[in-house]
Protein backbone atom coordinates (compact mmCIF):
# COMPACT_ATOMS: atom_id res chain seq x y z
CA UNK A 1 0.00 0.00 0.00
CA UNK A 2 2.77 2.43 0.99
CA UNK A 3 4.67 1.66 -2.18
CA UNK A 4 1.61 2.20 -4.33
CA UNK A 5 0.93 5.52 -2.64
CA UNK A 6 4.54 6.60 -3.20
CA UNK A 7 4.25 5.77 -6.88
CA UNK A 8 1.05 7.78 -7.21
CA UNK A 9 2.57 10.72 -5.31
CA UNK A 10 5.60 10.77 -7.59
CA UNK A 11 3.74 10.19 -10.85
CA UNK A 12 1.42 12.19 -13.05
CA UNK A 13 -1.70 10.86 -11.32
CA UNK A 14 -0.95 12.80 -8.16
CA UNK A 15 -3.42 15.59 -8.92
CA UNK A 16 -6.13 13.19 -10.00
CA UNK A 17 -5.73 11.03 -6.91
CA UNK A 18 -5.69 14.01 -4.59
CA UNK A 19 -8.78 15.49 -6.25
CA UNK A 20 -10.65 12.20 -6.05
CA UNK A 21 -9.84 11.80 -2.37
CA UNK A 22 -10.97 15.34 -1.62
CA UNK A 23 -14.21 14.78 -3.54
CA UNK A 24 -14.90 11.57 -1.67
CA UNK A 25 -14.10 13.22 1.67
CA UNK A 26 -16.41 16.17 1.02
CA UNK A 27 -19.21 13.74 0.11
CA UNK A 28 -18.59 11.65 3.21
CA UNK A 29 -18.60 14.75 5.42
CA UNK A 30 -21.88 15.94 3.86
CA UNK A 31 -23.45 12.53 4.45
CA UNK A 32 -22.28 12.45 8.06
CA UNK A 33 -23.67 15.97 8.55
CA UNK A 34 -27.06 14.82 7.29
CA UNK A 35 -26.99 11.81 9.60
CA UNK A 36 -25.99 14.00 12.53
CA UNK A 37 -28.75 16.53 11.79
CA UNK A 38 -31.32 13.76 11.48
CA UNK A 39 -30.62 12.57 15.02
CA UNK A 40 -32.17 15.72 16.43
CA UNK A 41 -35.17 15.56 14.12
CA UNK A 42 -38.13 14.26 16.04
CA UNK A 43 -40.93 15.99 14.19
CA UNK A 44 -43.66 14.11 12.38
CA UNK A 45 -42.12 14.36 8.97
CA UNK A 46 -41.43 11.68 6.51
CA UNK A 47 -42.15 11.26 2.91
CA UNK A 48 -44.15 9.26 0.48
CA UNK A 49 -42.55 10.76 -2.54
Amino acid sequence: MAAALRRIAAGGWRVVALGAVVGAEVTAIAMLALISASRSTTEFIYFNF
Binding site: G19, A37, R39, T41, F44, F47, N48, F49
Partner: protein, 368 residues
Protein backbone atom coordinates in the same frame (compact mmCIF):
# COMPACT_ATOMS: atom_id res chain seq x y z
CA UNK B 1 -6.22 20.56 -19.48
CA UNK B 2 -5.49 22.95 -16.64
CA UNK B 3 -4.48 21.62 -13.23
CA UNK B 4 -7.57 23.20 -11.62
CA UNK B 5 -9.97 21.59 -14.05
CA UNK B 6 -8.27 18.23 -13.61
CA UNK B 7 -8.59 18.53 -9.84
CA UNK B 8 -12.28 19.45 -10.08
CA UNK B 9 -13.06 16.59 -12.43
CA UNK B 10 -11.15 14.20 -10.19
CA UNK B 11 -13.08 15.46 -7.17
CA UNK B 12 -16.36 14.87 -8.99
CA UNK B 13 -15.18 11.39 -9.88
CA UNK B 14 -14.21 10.68 -6.28
CA UNK B 15 -17.59 11.89 -5.05
CA UNK B 16 -19.40 9.81 -7.66
CA UNK B 17 -17.42 6.69 -6.77
CA UNK B 18 -18.22 7.08 -3.07
CA UNK B 19 -21.91 7.63 -3.85
CA UNK B 20 -21.91 4.48 -5.96
CA UNK B 21 -20.39 2.50 -3.09
CA UNK B 22 -23.00 3.95 -0.70
CA UNK B 23 -25.79 3.16 -3.17
CA UNK B 24 -24.62 -0.43 -3.45
CA UNK B 25 -24.37 -0.80 0.33
CA UNK B 26 -27.79 0.76 0.99
CA UNK B 27 -29.44 -1.52 -1.55
CA UNK B 28 -28.43 -4.42 0.65
CA UNK B 29 -29.95 -2.78 3.74
CA UNK B 30 -33.63 -2.24 4.66
CA UNK B 31 -33.87 1.44 3.74
CA UNK B 32 -37.35 2.75 2.99
CA UNK B 33 -38.55 1.39 -0.31
CA UNK B 34 -41.76 1.20 -2.30
CA UNK B 35 -43.32 4.22 -0.57
CA UNK B 36 -43.92 6.28 -3.66
CA UNK B 37 -46.98 8.34 -4.50
CA UNK B 38 -49.14 7.25 -7.41
CA UNK B 39 -50.37 9.51 -10.17
CA UNK B 40 -53.78 11.01 -9.52
CA UNK B 41 -56.81 9.80 -11.46
CA UNK B 42 -59.99 11.75 -12.26
CA UNK B 43 -62.05 9.81 -9.72
CA UNK B 44 -59.29 9.74 -7.08
CA UNK B 45 -57.20 12.88 -7.49
CA UNK B 46 -55.58 12.90 -4.04
CA UNK B 47 -52.25 11.58 -2.88
CA UNK B 48 -51.99 7.86 -2.27
CA UNK B 49 -49.29 5.27 -2.62
CA UNK B 50 -48.68 3.16 -5.69
CA UNK B 51 -51.05 0.21 -5.65
CA UNK B 52 -50.15 -3.42 -5.02
CA UNK B 53 -46.60 -2.71 -3.92
CA UNK B 54 -44.51 -4.53 -1.34
CA UNK B 55 -42.87 -1.81 0.72
CA UNK B 56 -40.15 -1.62 3.34
CA UNK B 57 -40.30 0.87 6.18
CA UNK B 58 -37.46 1.68 8.51
CA UNK B 59 -36.75 4.70 10.60
CA UNK B 60 -33.78 6.93 11.36
CA UNK B 61 -30.16 6.70 10.29
CA UNK B 62 -29.65 3.29 11.86
CA UNK B 63 -32.63 1.68 10.10
CA UNK B 64 -34.58 0.80 13.23
CA UNK B 65 -38.16 -0.44 13.46
CA UNK B 66 -38.12 -2.28 10.15
CA UNK B 67 -41.55 -3.25 8.86
CA UNK B 68 -42.58 -4.72 5.56
CA UNK B 69 -46.08 -4.66 4.16
CA UNK B 70 -48.22 -4.19 1.10
CA UNK B 71 -50.42 -1.54 -0.43
CA UNK B 72 -53.73 -2.69 -1.86
CA UNK B 73 -55.54 -2.13 -5.14
CA UNK B 74 -56.28 1.50 -4.20
CA UNK B 75 -52.81 2.35 -2.96
CA UNK B 76 -53.59 2.31 0.75
CA UNK B 77 -51.78 0.21 3.34
CA UNK B 78 -54.01 -2.82 3.79
CA UNK B 79 -53.51 -6.53 3.18
CA UNK B 80 -56.79 -6.84 1.29
CA UNK B 81 -58.35 -5.11 -1.72
CA UNK B 82 -61.10 -2.52 -1.37
CA UNK B 83 -64.12 -3.58 -3.41
CA UNK B 84 -66.14 -0.68 -4.83
CA UNK B 85 -69.74 -0.72 -3.66
CA UNK B 86 -69.03 -2.73 -0.53
CA UNK B 87 -69.83 -1.78 3.05
CA UNK B 88 -66.99 -0.32 5.00
CA UNK B 89 -65.87 1.59 8.05
CA UNK B 90 -63.73 4.47 6.86
CA UNK B 91 -60.69 5.06 9.05
CA UNK B 92 -59.11 8.36 8.14
CA UNK B 93 -55.99 10.10 9.31
CA UNK B 94 -52.43 10.89 8.39
CA UNK B 95 -49.29 8.83 8.89
CA UNK B 96 -50.67 7.67 12.24
CA UNK B 97 -53.37 5.74 10.40
CA UNK B 98 -51.28 4.89 7.38
CA UNK B 99 -49.32 3.04 10.04
CA UNK B 100 -46.13 2.14 8.22
CA UNK B 101 -44.22 1.94 11.50
CA UNK B 102 -46.46 -0.83 12.83
CA UNK B 103 -47.59 -4.20 11.59
CA UNK B 104 -51.04 -3.91 10.00
CA UNK B 105 -52.55 -6.11 12.72
CA UNK B 106 -51.26 -3.64 15.33
CA UNK B 107 -52.87 -0.57 13.79
CA UNK B 108 -56.16 0.91 14.91
CA UNK B 109 -57.94 -0.49 11.87
CA UNK B 110 -56.26 -3.88 12.23
CA UNK B 111 -57.21 -4.13 15.89
CA UNK B 112 -60.74 -2.87 15.23
CA UNK B 113 -61.22 -5.70 12.75
CA UNK B 114 -60.19 -8.14 15.47
CA UNK B 115 -62.38 -6.52 18.14
CA UNK B 116 -65.42 -6.34 15.82
CA UNK B 117 -65.24 -9.49 13.70
CA UNK B 118 -68.78 -9.01 12.36
CA UNK B 119 -68.24 -5.42 11.31
CA UNK B 120 -67.76 -4.36 7.69
CA UNK B 121 -64.25 -4.06 6.32
CA UNK B 122 -62.03 -1.45 7.94
CA UNK B 123 -61.03 0.81 5.07
CA UNK B 124 -57.83 2.64 5.94
CA UNK B 125 -57.49 5.92 4.06
CA UNK B 126 -54.57 7.27 6.06
CA UNK B 127 -51.82 8.97 4.11
CA UNK B 128 -48.66 10.56 5.36
CA UNK B 129 -48.84 14.34 5.37
CA UNK B 130 -52.64 14.57 5.44
CA UNK B 131 -54.44 17.12 7.60
CA UNK B 132 -57.98 17.87 8.78
CA UNK B 133 -58.73 19.32 5.36
CA UNK B 134 -57.93 15.96 3.76
CA UNK B 135 -60.04 14.06 6.25
CA UNK B 136 -63.18 15.87 5.12
CA UNK B 137 -62.11 16.29 1.50
CA UNK B 138 -61.78 12.52 1.13
CA UNK B 139 -65.33 11.99 2.40
CA UNK B 140 -67.28 12.49 -0.84
CA UNK B 141 -64.78 10.36 -2.77
CA UNK B 142 -65.05 7.56 -0.23
CA UNK B 143 -68.82 7.69 0.09
CA UNK B 144 -69.25 7.66 -3.71
CA UNK B 145 -67.26 4.44 -3.93
CA UNK B 146 -68.27 2.62 -0.72
CA UNK B 147 -71.26 2.32 1.58
CA UNK B 148 -69.77 3.93 4.64
CA UNK B 149 -71.20 2.70 7.95
CA UNK B 150 -68.96 4.65 10.28
CA UNK B 151 -66.32 7.31 9.78
CA UNK B 152 -63.42 7.23 12.24
CA UNK B 153 -61.19 10.28 12.06
CA UNK B 154 -57.93 10.43 14.00
CA UNK B 155 -56.84 13.99 14.76
CA UNK B 156 -53.27 14.73 15.86
CA UNK B 157 -51.05 17.73 16.46
CA UNK B 158 -50.61 19.94 13.42
CA UNK B 159 -53.76 18.74 11.71
CA UNK B 160 -55.46 22.15 11.69
CA UNK B 161 -52.61 24.45 10.71
CA UNK B 162 -51.17 22.03 8.16
CA UNK B 163 -54.37 22.50 6.17
CA UNK B 164 -53.22 26.03 5.30
CA UNK B 165 -50.13 24.79 3.47
CA UNK B 166 -51.12 21.62 1.65
CA UNK B 167 -48.58 19.91 -0.58
CA UNK B 168 -49.69 19.00 -4.12
CA UNK B 169 -52.22 16.18 -4.06
CA UNK B 170 -53.67 17.19 -0.70
CA UNK B 171 -56.66 19.25 0.37
CA UNK B 172 -56.26 22.65 1.99
CA UNK B 173 -58.68 25.03 3.64
CA UNK B 174 -61.03 27.11 1.54
CA UNK B 175 -63.79 28.67 3.60
CA UNK B 176 -65.80 29.50 0.47
CA UNK B 177 -66.39 25.85 -0.43
CA UNK B 178 -68.71 23.27 1.11
CA UNK B 179 -67.06 21.37 2.69
CA UNK B 180 -64.56 24.15 3.33
CA UNK B 181 -61.63 22.61 1.49
CA UNK B 182 -60.02 22.62 -1.92
CA UNK B 183 -57.69 20.14 -3.54
CA UNK B 184 -54.27 21.34 -4.58
CA UNK B 185 -53.69 19.56 -7.89
CA UNK B 186 -50.86 17.11 -8.12
CA UNK B 187 -48.53 17.39 -11.12
CA UNK B 188 -48.22 14.32 -13.31
CA UNK B 189 -45.13 13.27 -15.22
CA UNK B 190 -46.61 13.17 -18.71
CA UNK B 191 -46.89 15.44 -21.71
CA UNK B 192 -45.79 18.94 -20.76
CA UNK B 193 -44.93 18.06 -17.16
CA UNK B 194 -42.06 19.92 -15.59
CA UNK B 195 -38.62 18.34 -15.60
CA UNK B 196 -38.65 18.44 -11.79
CA UNK B 197 -41.78 16.27 -11.58
CA UNK B 198 -40.31 13.60 -13.80
CA UNK B 199 -36.87 13.82 -12.19
CA UNK B 200 -38.36 13.17 -8.75
CA UNK B 201 -39.88 9.95 -10.01
CA UNK B 202 -36.52 8.80 -11.29
CA UNK B 203 -34.37 9.76 -8.32
CA UNK B 204 -36.65 8.00 -5.85
CA UNK B 205 -35.39 4.77 -7.39
CA UNK B 206 -32.01 5.49 -5.82
CA UNK B 207 -31.51 3.94 -2.39
CA UNK B 208 -29.37 6.86 -1.32
CA UNK B 209 -32.21 9.27 -2.07
CA UNK B 210 -34.73 7.12 -0.21
CA UNK B 211 -32.35 6.86 2.72
CA UNK B 212 -31.72 10.61 2.82
CA UNK B 213 -35.33 11.67 2.47
CA UNK B 214 -37.07 8.77 4.16
CA UNK B 215 -34.74 7.62 6.90
CA UNK B 216 -32.84 10.82 7.56
CA UNK B 217 -36.04 12.86 6.99
CA UNK B 218 -34.08 15.42 5.05
CA UNK B 219 -36.21 18.24 3.76
CA UNK B 220 -34.61 21.43 2.56
CA UNK B 221 -37.28 23.65 4.15
CA UNK B 222 -36.97 21.83 7.45
CA UNK B 223 -33.18 21.88 7.22
CA UNK B 224 -33.11 25.65 6.75
CA UNK B 225 -35.61 26.11 9.55
CA UNK B 226 -33.62 24.08 12.07
CA UNK B 227 -30.32 25.61 11.06
CA UNK B 228 -31.41 29.03 12.25
CA UNK B 229 -33.20 27.75 15.32
CA UNK B 230 -31.59 28.84 18.56
CA UNK B 231 -32.48 28.15 22.15
CA UNK B 232 -36.08 27.15 22.95
CA UNK B 233 -38.31 30.16 22.81
CA UNK B 234 -40.45 31.11 25.80
CA UNK B 235 -44.11 30.23 25.61
CA UNK B 236 -46.30 32.80 23.90
CA UNK B 237 -49.85 31.46 24.21
CA UNK B 238 -51.76 31.60 20.95
CA UNK B 239 -55.44 31.46 20.08
CA UNK B 240 -57.67 31.17 17.06
CA UNK B 241 -57.32 33.67 14.27
CA UNK B 242 -60.06 35.43 12.37
CA UNK B 243 -62.21 32.93 10.50
CA UNK B 244 -60.91 29.87 12.33
CA UNK B 245 -64.01 29.44 14.49
CA UNK B 246 -66.32 29.59 11.46
CA UNK B 247 -64.11 27.15 9.58
CA UNK B 248 -64.21 24.67 12.44
CA UNK B 249 -67.98 25.03 12.88
CA UNK B 250 -68.48 24.39 9.17
CA UNK B 251 -66.18 21.40 9.45
CA UNK B 252 -68.17 19.86 12.28
CA UNK B 253 -71.39 20.58 10.38
CA UNK B 254 -70.26 19.03 7.11
CA UNK B 255 -68.16 16.07 8.23
CA UNK B 256 -71.02 13.53 8.58
CA UNK B 257 -72.54 14.47 5.22
CA UNK B 258 -69.15 14.20 3.56
CA UNK B 259 -69.13 10.49 4.44
CA UNK B 260 -72.86 10.04 3.98
CA UNK B 261 -73.45 9.06 7.59
CA UNK B 262 -75.47 10.63 10.42
CA UNK B 263 -73.53 12.53 13.09
CA UNK B 264 -73.76 9.65 15.55
CA UNK B 265 -71.80 7.52 13.07
CA UNK B 266 -68.80 9.84 13.17
CA UNK B 267 -66.06 9.17 15.72
CA UNK B 268 -63.31 11.74 16.16
CA UNK B 269 -60.28 10.44 18.04
CA UNK B 270 -58.05 13.17 19.44
CA UNK B 271 -54.44 12.39 20.26
CA UNK B 272 -52.94 13.69 23.51
CA UNK B 273 -49.80 15.71 24.12
CA UNK B 274 -47.68 12.68 24.93
CA UNK B 275 -44.50 14.70 25.39
CA UNK B 276 -46.26 16.54 28.20
CA UNK B 277 -47.57 13.22 29.52
CA UNK B 278 -44.04 11.83 29.85
CA UNK B 279 -42.64 15.11 31.19
CA UNK B 280 -45.27 15.28 33.90
CA UNK B 281 -44.94 11.59 34.78
CA UNK B 282 -48.50 10.93 33.73
CA UNK B 283 -50.08 13.86 35.50
CA UNK B 284 -51.00 15.97 32.47
CA UNK B 285 -51.78 15.44 28.81
CA UNK B 286 -52.86 18.94 27.89
CA UNK B 287 -50.52 21.21 26.00
CA UNK B 288 -48.61 23.41 28.40
CA UNK B 289 -48.32 26.21 25.85
CA UNK B 290 -51.51 26.66 23.79
CA UNK B 291 -50.98 27.07 20.08
CA UNK B 292 -53.39 28.04 17.33
CA UNK B 293 -53.46 24.38 16.38
CA UNK B 294 -54.14 22.99 19.85
CA UNK B 295 -56.86 25.58 20.50
CA UNK B 296 -58.43 24.75 17.13
CA UNK B 297 -58.44 21.03 17.87
CA UNK B 298 -60.13 21.67 21.20
CA UNK B 299 -62.68 23.89 19.49
CA UNK B 300 -63.34 21.21 16.88
CA UNK B 301 -63.86 18.60 19.60
CA UNK B 302 -66.42 20.83 21.30
CA UNK B 303 -68.17 21.67 18.03
CA UNK B 304 -68.36 18.03 16.96
CA UNK B 305 -69.67 16.88 20.33
CA UNK B 306 -72.36 19.54 20.31
CA UNK B 307 -73.57 18.19 16.97
CA UNK B 308 -73.92 14.64 18.20
CA UNK B 309 -70.65 13.28 16.82
CA UNK B 310 -68.59 11.04 19.08
CA UNK B 311 -65.42 12.56 20.45
CA UNK B 312 -62.69 10.49 22.08
CA UNK B 313 -59.95 12.27 24.01
CA UNK B 314 -57.07 9.84 24.25
CA UNK B 315 -55.46 11.95 27.00
CA UNK B 316 -56.99 10.24 30.05
CA UNK B 317 -56.68 6.81 28.42
CA UNK B 318 -53.02 7.29 27.63
CA UNK B 319 -52.35 8.78 31.07
CA UNK B 320 -53.94 5.82 32.84
CA UNK B 321 -51.90 3.39 30.76
CA UNK B 322 -48.67 5.27 31.32
CA UNK B 323 -49.24 5.54 35.08
CA UNK B 324 -50.13 1.86 35.31
CA UNK B 325 -47.36 0.42 33.16
CA UNK B 326 -44.76 3.13 32.60
CA UNK B 327 -44.81 2.07 28.96
CA UNK B 328 -44.73 4.57 26.15
CA UNK B 329 -47.45 4.92 23.54
CA UNK B 330 -45.05 5.67 20.69
CA UNK B 331 -41.52 5.26 19.39
CA UNK B 332 -40.31 8.52 20.93
CA UNK B 333 -37.97 10.29 20.99
CA UNK B 334 -37.10 9.18 17.45
CA UNK B 335 -40.63 8.74 16.18
CA UNK B 336 -43.74 10.05 17.93
CA UNK B 337 -46.21 7.95 15.97
CA UNK B 338 -48.31 5.59 18.05
CA UNK B 339 -46.90 2.16 18.67
CA UNK B 340 -49.03 -0.99 19.04
CA UNK B 341 -50.08 0.02 22.56
CA UNK B 342 -51.26 3.44 21.41
CA UNK B 343 -53.25 1.93 18.56
CA UNK B 344 -54.68 -0.78 20.81
CA UNK B 345 -55.99 1.73 23.34
CA UNK B 346 -57.52 3.88 20.60
CA UNK B 347 -59.11 0.84 18.95
CA UNK B 348 -60.63 -0.24 22.24
CA UNK B 349 -62.26 3.18 22.70
CA UNK B 350 -63.60 3.22 19.15
CA UNK B 351 -64.89 -0.36 19.42
CA UNK B 352 -66.66 0.49 22.67
CA UNK B 353 -68.62 3.25 20.93
CA UNK B 354 -69.37 1.09 17.90
CA UNK B 355 -70.66 -1.75 20.06
CA UNK B 356 -73.00 0.65 21.80
CA UNK B 357 -73.72 2.27 18.48
CA UNK B 358 -75.79 -0.09 16.59
CA UNK B 359 -76.56 -3.46 15.20
CA UNK B 360 -75.92 -1.87 11.80
CA UNK B 361 -72.21 -2.21 12.54
CA UNK B 362 -72.73 -5.80 11.59
CA UNK B 363 -72.00 -6.72 8.03
CA UNK B 364 -74.76 -6.18 5.53
CA UNK B 365 -74.88 -7.89 2.16
CA UNK B 366 -72.66 -6.20 -0.39
CA UNK B 367 -73.43 -5.66 -4.06
CA UNK B 368 -73.46 -8.67 -6.34
Amino acid sequence: MSRTLTTLLAAALGAALLLMVLEAALRLLPVQNGLAGDDPSPDWPTHRLRSDVHYTFSDAWDLRNVHRGVTNNMGYVAPFPYRPGSDGIAVVGNSFIEGLMNRYEETLQGQLARLLPDAPAMLNFGVSGASLADYIGLGPMVSRRFRVRWAVVVVVAGDFVDGFTPPPGYFGWNAGNAPPVQLRPQPVCSGAASLLTCTEKLVRLLAIVRYTRGNLRFDLRHFLHTSVKGAPRPCVPEGLQAGDADLLAAYADRLPAAYGVPPERVILVFDADRAELYRSHGMSTSTSCPTRDSVARNALAAAAASRGEHVIDMGPVFAAYFKATGGRLDYSPIDWHWNAAGHRLAAAEVARIMRLGAPETERTPGPP
